[in-house]
Amino acid sequence: MIGIQLSPEKIFKEVTNFNTKLAEGIKNLRQVGDLPSGVTEKEAVYKEDKLVLYHYKSPTGKKATNKTPLLISYALVNRPYMTDLQENRSMIRGLLETGQDVYLIDWGYPDRSDRYVTMDDYINGYIDRCVDVLCERHNVDKVNLLGICQGGAFSLCYTSLHPEKIANLITMVTPVDFHTADNMLAHWIQNIDVDLLVDSLGNVPGDMMNWTFLNLKPYRLIGQKYIDMVEILDNPQQIHNFMYMEKWIFDSPDQAGEAYRQFVNDFYKHNRLIKGEVELGGQKVDLKNITVPVLNIYANDDHLVPPSASKPLKQYVGTKDYTELSFKGGHIGIYVSSSAQREVPPSIGKWLNERG
């Protein structure tokens, strides 16, 4: 047997180390306590139903130099504080430091009363009203829009339908072509009766969404991850960081049934976004209508939204000012890794500042 080279001493040493780390580290785990949902000071400037529009304040007191406010539209499937997880892991802070005036839509936690909220309501309703609020506050005609993941797909739809209100568009880890060969989620959904699912459940539980995401890499995400966690149990700071992430991952709102139905059927199942067949409020979404500057950011190791799903955006939008930024990391690392802090917000800020 040459694949494994273990001596009894090594085995015992390893088991001892594991046990010691566990015995000593459990107390660190218990001392983590409550974790905040976002760390940067913010002010609610608009509320509607479950939605809250927040305006962020720079912790360093830096004033916004870009006169066009930046609106961030996050996905519905997780909470937006991923963009502001910890003091040293905050995309929001990074953007503030580049002189952007940052606003973020917090979609809240939809309940049964939101079951009939549609994609049209989200995009032509909520997002549009948030844009109007910003235009009013800043006395401008247009805002900069940054859409993340599903929020990026929403931002594409919005910009296509309301091009006059958007100055620059940034999409981050945003799926555009949903039928690429490596898109596991799109593959799985093909034989699921989404109408039956929504008719049966009403809203789609966040737990169910989580389970689906975990099943993308089940052995790693449900097993190995927690074995690896033992390695850091004796380090209070590392376990703290781990728990921040853990909290965010499983803090998943339910999905408003009708919006979920259309998003999964139109985007994942039938790939209608790139075909120009998505219809919102009686209007077709045509990506060619997007003629404003576009910055498309994707993560090379993204297992949720593979680069192959994001990169085709270039061929479908009508803009002549298209920029791509690839990040060496995954779907989550793009917000929180130390390299992301160094690369992503400064690049976005620079790109926006160059365009006024």
Partner: protein, 313 residues
């Protein structure tokens, strides 16, 4: 190594392990047991904690489908490492060879996944007894459920039969799903054994239990990822989800019927109100938008054209 010297080595090892076990027991306050006996220690507690954690992860929300049984498939991934540690740990205490220990560990995995393939390993909650019973063809409930309802309670009989049929459908699809996942596990065991017996020339040997486990996980993920993109998996996955949703839909309908009989609001009624409310809100929003004066945002650099457009409106 000659037989005599091998015996000496084993004897020496045995003494070493006995002494080491005693120290471990003292360190962790365990009860006095012989070397190689079951030793749970903190990793045993960790296994329990892991189960609780994963149970929480799987979700037990009222509206969530019952995913508890699904998680067993993958909970094993974490437990595997702990079990592996346990087996190797005990094995060394019993002076087993590395080949023996690896073989036994692989066999225990094989047994687990074989259980999934033959349907003995997992089952959905509830009526699983019928589903696993080889005489399920004569399942009395299924037999009666196949009759049409008659008499005053005809509609209720039909509803109940339909509910049971939906559950049976889900049970069957769930078994198929588990069967397919069991095959993935078995294939992973075979590939792992092959790797250990004959690793690629450029591969570094696995020199810790952690590395052995990481290799095992890599192989599992590789085979799973490949299988999860096949038409076969998509079909099985779709069927099990659809069957569960069909059951839940029928369940909700029957619950609504019961609420109606108690003169209480039903989910369907509340849904209908929500739907109308949202439709009304859209109408109101559209009317407000029409009535809202479209004042131009006059910026210092605004062009004449923009201002004109604003004036027109």
């Amino acid at each position: 190594m000659s037989t005599a010297s091998a015996q000496d080595w084993l004897k020496g090892q045995q003494q070493y392990w006995d002494s080491w076990f005693d120290q471990q027991r003292k360190f962790f306050g365990g009860e006095s047991q012989g070397a190689g006996a079951s030793f749970a220690g903190p990793q045993g507690q960790w296994a329990e904690l892991l189960k609780v954690w994963q149970s929480a992860v799987s979700g037990t929300g009222q509206n969530a489908p019952d995913l508890g049984a699904f998680q067993q498939q993958f909970t094993k991934a974490g437990e595997t490492y702990l079990n592996m540690m346990q087996q190797f740990y005990q094995g060394t205490g019993q002076a087993k060879t590395l080949e023996q220990m690896t073989k036994e560990w692989a066999e225990s995995l094989q047994k687990f996944f074989s259980g999934a393939v033959d349907g003995k390993g997992f089952s959905a909650n509830g009526f699983s007894g019928f589903a696993k019973d080889p005489l399920s063809a004569v399942d009395p409930l299924n037999f009666f459920a196949s009759f049409p309802g008659i008499g005053y309670t005809r509609e209720k009989q039909e509803q109940l039969s339909h509910l049971y049929q939906q559950w049976s459908e889900f049970e069957a699809k769930f078994r198929e799903y588990n069967n397919s996942m069991g095959k993935v596990g078995l294939e992973a065991v075979q590939k792992f054994q092959a790797y250990v017996a004959n690793p690629p020339q450029d591969a570094a040997p696995l020199t810790s239990l952690k590395e052995v486990y990481a290799k095992w996980v890599d192989i599992c993920e590789e085979i799973y990822a490949k299988y999860a993109m096949t038409e076969e998996y998509t079909t099985v996955y779709g069927e099990v989800v659809n069957a569960l949703m069909g059951f839940k839909k029928q369940q909700s309908k029957m619950l609504d019927d019961a609420m109606d009989q108690l003169n209480l609001p039903t989910r369907a009624e509340v849904d209908s109100l929500h739907e109308r409310l949202h439709a009304l809100r859209r109408e109101v929003a559209a009317l407000k938008a029409e009535l809202k004066p479209k004042a131009p945002k006059v910026k210092p650099d605004a062009t004449k054209d923009t201002t004109k457009q604003g004036k027109k409106s």
